[in-house]
Amino acid sequence: MIFCSLVKQALRAKRALWATYSAIGLGFLFLYIAVFPSIQSQSVDYNKIFASLPKGLMIALNISNETPTLMGYLSSKHFGLIWLFMIALVVIAYGGFVVAKEVETRTMGFLLAQPISRIKLYLARFSAGAIGLAVFVVFSEAVVWPLARVYNYTIDVKGVLLVGLAGYLFGLSIMGLSFMFSAMSSSAARVSAWSGLVMLAMYAIYIASSLMSDLDNLKYLSLFHYIAPGDIITNDSIAMSSIVTFIVFSVVTAAIGALIFQKRQVQV
């Protein structure tokens, strides 16, 4: 009962965040679906351009030069890059609120004056974040399936679900990271800066490792290596190593955050 109240409270507090990002994600899908017929008709010309690009860059940017299906096109143009950054942005913004923002605005005092353990509060917020992220994934990715039906495109439901799952797990792992930073900070802006820097560093590593064969092994340090919607569509599956990496990263970072929050001094 108390846990549910805390989950509801966190969802309510950040409903505008989830709703805004979901609406933007949905807007992107409408946009891409609207321009898809012209992309399809010009695919031969595009493929010539893509063929001139370095192979590593094509991999890094999740671009394939096959004749596009709707899901293949979305995976290379949207789900492989913009959508991933949207996921990162929304969960980092949410993570900042979890502890840091509440300490910054001193509302944490109101919560901690209640008979609630810090761990329960933290887990409730993680659960609320997981629900919010699921809503975002549904409106920014899974909804492509009914939209495709409306516009009479054939679409592979399994591919939609797999890309959605991969994006969701990717989001959970970044959420764990931002929760960890939130637990040790008293400023939401700082949480965004730290998390953003880590994400940018990971993306830079991913691009560098794709372009330079000497740095190939560095790709394992980047979460972006473990999510490639184009490959998921092509292979019709998610690599188990990606699932494990995302779950382990999420659990470890969130658990470190929980321990820090449990021990930290809260000056409110």
């Binding site: 005092g109 004056a113 209640q114 008979p115 001094q265 409110v268």
Partner: protein, 290 residues
């Protein structure tokens, strides 16, 4: 029976010694004044009681439980009003009450509604629409509605007008009559004089007085002002007199010891007017902190 016991409490923030070996105890049914200037360590002590901060050394026992290790259990028994209540700006008064009711049990709602009426607080207003005083009223409502055996109040009447302050004092007296215990941190010395059975005074993180208001006053003596028709008698030889100021027909001084020799001297003179007042807490504070 000690309901709350602070044992050798020390707290350091980096190089700053916020609390230094502070010990005191509160009995059940007391209203206990916790006094000190800004930065003395009052709020730090309260935050340790509430489990927000962890002590560097020492501990606080409340109802026989450790405030640090058993923080969650203890908060079922503690109503807390912070020095500056910070509530959710976008929530209404009723939403705050509902949230607390969801956590502590729905039975508190009726009591919260009653308190809201006593304190004249509009339940439909959002916190951001409330004045500081009304936000304070909401914090008081949320602390009292759970009917806790212990209230921890950190300057609870800051921002309240005199009428509401009187209503709040009345609520505290009723709460005490019902067996409740209060730790009241305050800057308002008249409030402390009115309400508190015992007080501790803290300064620079150190406890400097643990006493009752009556004892504190008697230790700090009286102020005497006498106006004479003719010649002023000589008070300078009387032991215990301080701050003696003499004008043509008036004499003023403080005295800590027995009043008897002074009254004897006065009785042999033509006194036109005489004023004897106990030292106020303000005077005592000035003396302690100077």
């Amino acid at each position: 029976m000690h309901l709350l016991q602070v044992n050798h409490l020390s707290k350091k923030f980096g190089n700053l010694q916020a609390l230094d070996n502070v010990s005191f105890s509160i009995q059940k049914g007391e209203i206990f004044g916790f006094l000190g200037p800004n930065g003395a360590g009052k709020s730090t002590t309260i935050r340790i009681i509430m489990g927000f901060l962890h002590p560097t050394y020492g501990n606080i026992n409340v109802f026989g439980l450790d405030s640090d290790a058993d923080a969650v259990t203890l908060k079922n028994k503690i109503g807390y009003v912070p020095a500056e209540p910070v509530l959710y700006a976008d929530w209404t008064v009723d939403e705050h009450i509902r949230f607390v009711a969801n956590i502590r049990g729905t039975q508190i709602k009726a009591r919260a509604d009653k308190l809201r009426q006593i304190l004249e607080l509009d339940g439909s207003k959002k916190v951001k629409q409330l004045s500081t005083g009304n936000q304070q009223k909401l914090a008081i409502t949320l602390a009292l509605c759970i009917n806790p055996p212990l209230l921890v109040l950190d300057e609870p009447t800051r921002g309240l007008d005199p009428l509401l302050r009187a209503s709040f004092h009345q609520l505290l007296r009723e709460y005490k009559q019902q067996g409740g215990t209060v730790l009241l941190s305050s800057h308002d010395l008249s409030e402390v004089e009115d309400l508190c059975d015992k007080i501790v005074i803290i300064h620079n993180g150190k406890l400097i007085q643990d006493t009752t208001v009556t004892r504190l006053r008697s230790n700090h003596g009286h102020k005497i002002k006498a106006h004479f028709i003719d010649k002023i008698p000589d008070f300078s030889d009387i032991a215990g007199i301080e701050d003696l100021v003499t004008t043509k027909h008036t004499v003023e001084f403080k005295v800590k010891d027995n009043l008897h020799p002074i009254l004897q001297t006065l009785s042999g003179s033509h006194v036109e007017d005489l004023e004897i007042t106990s030292a106020s807490l303000e005077d005592i504070f000035e003396e302690i902190y100077k």
